[in-house]
């Protein structure tokens, strides 16, 4: 799932060689802004066919939060 996340972040922001870890913070470490985050959320929804309410987005501060959230939505590790 980390690889898919990296791909999506690259597609949305052009940032590569991210070397994501569970503790990577989307805003503090990757310097993503709100537009980046919303596009990433939309891409994750399309990729995994899940619904991510906007009110949940701001809980997903680190990679591990996003991974756990998606798993709880039934997305399986790939």
């Amino acid at each position: 799932m980390l690889e898919r996340l990296e791909e999506i972040i690259y597609q949305v922001t052009g940032k590569n060689n991210l070397n994501l870890t569970d503790d990577t913070d989307f805003v503090k470490d990757l310097e993503l802004n709100s537009f980046d985050v919303m596009n990433i959320i939309s891409a994750l929804e399309d990729l995994y066919d899940v619904d991510i309410p906007t009110r949940d987005v701001w809980q997903l501060r680190q990679v591990k939060d996003a991974v756990e959230y998606l798993k709880a939505k039934g997305v399986e590790e790939q």
């Binding site: 310097e31 802004n33 537009f35 919303m38 906007t54 701001w58």
Partner: protein, 176 residues
């Protein structure tokens, strides 16, 4: 006057350290009171503000630039780089029906201007992006005023302030 201080993004730019230093300059420019040592606090939702000062600020960064807008009343500011992206999924999900109609009819030409305006509004209100982001239209009905400010090519910058008062002047001030 609304002053937007801008610089090329680089390591070491932080709200807690950079913004008070810029505030001193803004205070001198505008004759506003500024107490050295004024620190930055944050609301529960994370909106930064000066703990005890008549000055207000809003920070944004996008692409190659970081910016901070100052004013003597509450404000929100957003800077957004124009990216080559398909705007339709974001428009469908995050924009008000009135905004969607406008964008569809205009070929999405001012998509980033509208996004910056919407973001500036939620930063002004302190609500941040939430489920209600698509519930308001910056094209009319918001109890606020929007000022697009010319910035670099390929960027939209918008400041949002309250509905009352005279229209303020604005300027962009570059710093190293």
């Amino acid at each position: 006057m609304i002053a937007v201080y801008a610089c090329v993004r680089k390591p070491g730019i932080t709200t807690e350290e950079t913004v008070p230093a810029l505030a001193k300059n803004y205070a001198e420019l505008t004759g506003t009171a500024w107490e050295p040592g004024t620190s930055v606090c944050r609301t529960q939702r994370g909106k930064p503000y000066f703990c005890a000062s008549p000055l207000h600020f809003s920070v944004s960064h996008s692409g190659s630039y970081w910016a901070c807008a100052f004013y003597t009343a509450d404000l929100g500011m957003d800077l957004q780089e124009h990216r080559s992206t398909n705007p339709e999924p974001v428009v469908r999900r995050f924009f008000h029906p009135e905004e969607r109609k406008h964008l569809e009819e205009s070929g999405f030409t001012d998509f980033f201007d509208l996004w910056a305006a919407k973001e500036s509004y939620v930063k002004y209100t302190g609500s941040g992006i939430s489920d209600s982001f698509s519930g308001f239209s910056v094209l009319g009905g918001c109890p606020a005023r929007f000022y697009p400010i010319p910035f670099m090519d390929g960027y939209s910058l918008c400041v949002c302030i309250g509905p009352e008062g005279a229209q303020p002047d604005s300027k962009v001030i570059w710093f190293d």
